[in-house]
Symmetry: C2
């Protein structure tokens, strides 16, 4: 039993530590463009969602509003996206990629390629690990 508890503890540390190691893998590709990993996540989700609200981005990235507000402002200040209060619903802020932001798509692709090479895993291994992580995340979201 104690053994299991120690394993649980280690598992969580492994997730925590490996997550930061993987984030570091992106750095050599993203930093030359002045981007951080969370900024990369936000921009990629924007390219997939298209123009959307801050709340939409938060759901896609699981990032808090308190994280997204300053992050989006920094990206808007650099001209990569625009933030406009919605005319239809004045509570909502609409986020859109600018042409400068769209121009970063090749960088996102490069980052993905770089990561694929760095992982050193087969596609099957990646799928299997991903399934495990998804199941765990699902369980934590809905412990039902």
């Amino acid at each position: 039993m104690t053994e299991t508890r120690v394993l649980d503890d280690l598992l969580c540390f492994d997730l925590y530590s490996l997550s930061r190691m993987v984030t570091a893998l992106y750095r050599p590709v993203l930093e030359p463009h002045g981007l951080t990993y969370p900024q990369y996540l936000v921009l990629v989700s924007l390219t997939r969602l298209g123009t959307c609200s801050i709340g939409d981005i938060g759901r896609a990235t699981r990032l808090d509003h308190g994280t997204l507000t300053p992050l989006l402002r920094r990206l808007a200040d650099r001209g990569l996206l625009t933030l406009d209060r919605s005319a239809a619903d004045a509570r909502s802020v609409t986020v859109s990629l600018t042409p400068d932001g769209e121009a970063l798509r090749p960088v996102f692709h490069e980052a993905q390629c770089h990561l694929g090479e760095s992982l050193g895993m087969t596609e099957q291994q990646v799928r299997r690990l991903q399934t495990t992580l998804h199941q765990l995340a699902e369980h934590l979201d809905n412990p039902a």
Copy 2:
């Protein structure tokens, strides 16, 4: 191929996101004691290592010195540990748990138990996932 790249991308996001979800699981147990998850990691590694240097803790937790220095100072200010420059090697700072720090051991155990219940995984599932994460971390440390 593009498919694989998307998988890689998602895998990394899953790690990043799941890591924060698991950290959040610790919060209900740690917060009443005024502890954060990184502080918990440092204190647990101290209970396992015994008195040691800041560098030892950094290797155990994979935390940067710039993270550890203020973190340790906060814990020292609260009387949970002591920081003393080593007499033998004046470069090194020795970290020791105080009795107040030792008294938190039951909290660490409670956190582990809480997490074990929250994960909803069998011991075998935990072991398997952990093995995968260890292999990946090892590969990233030594891409040889």
